[in-house]
Amino acid sequence: MMTFIWVSLLIVILSMLGVLYRIFRGPSTPDRLIALDVIGVMFISATALVSILFHTAFFFEVILLLAVLSFIGTVSFSKFIEKGEIIERDRNR
């Protein structure tokens, strides 16, 4: 059982390294952002596997926090690419 978890953690880390190639080589900026989003999602699964390996339940907050931070980073970067600014100015003032 533990051997299976170790092997799956190794596979997840190798796939993170594979996605890193797209960050280096991506022709445009949204390619790199998609690869970064995928790396954030894979980091969550690596944290879950590590929490199985260490027999601890204290990493679940880390999982929730990584999910929230990855989503906020993706939304703000895509808004920056689309409009050129992240927080717009108030026009009624």
Binding site: I11, P30, I34, V41, S45, I52, H55, A67, F71
Partner: protein, 118 residues
């Protein structure tokens, strides 16, 4: 009992691993941004949901801990990951990234042109 639990855990984690590897192959081999976003948003979401379900079953059946936080994480990822993919591909289209030569139709171009004229 523990054999059944371990079978369930190995099955869910294996499903997540297969979809994670499929994500990497799609992101590395697809030709343009939109197909890569398609591969990334769908199969990466299913892969991480499989691995988190395996973790949830392991802590529930083997260690006796029913974790609400993992279920909340699964729900949050299931809601937000497709929204992230949609926002990224929309930003890519509006910033002028061209699709591949094999694309047959582009229905969004007329709408964008119309809204720029107004």
């Amino acid at each position: 009992m523990t054999v059944i639990a371990n079978t369930l855990i190995v099955f869910t984690i294996l499903t997540g691993l297969i979809f994670t590897v499929v994500t990497v192959i799609g992101v590395l081999r697809f030709p343009d941004v939109y197909t890569r976003a398609h591969a990334a948003s769908k199969s990466a979401t299913l892969g991480v949901i499989g691995i988190l379900l395996g973790t949830f079953f392991h802590f529930w059946l083997n260690e006796g801990l029913f974790s609400i936080k993992l279920l909340l994480g699964i729900l949050f990822l299931f809601i937000t990951a497709p929204i992230g993919g949609h926002l990224l591909s929309r930003a890519a289209y509006l910033s002028g990234v061209k699709p591949t030569k094999h694309t047959v139709g582009d229905d969004l171009a007329e709408v964008v042109k119309q809204s720029k004229r107004d």
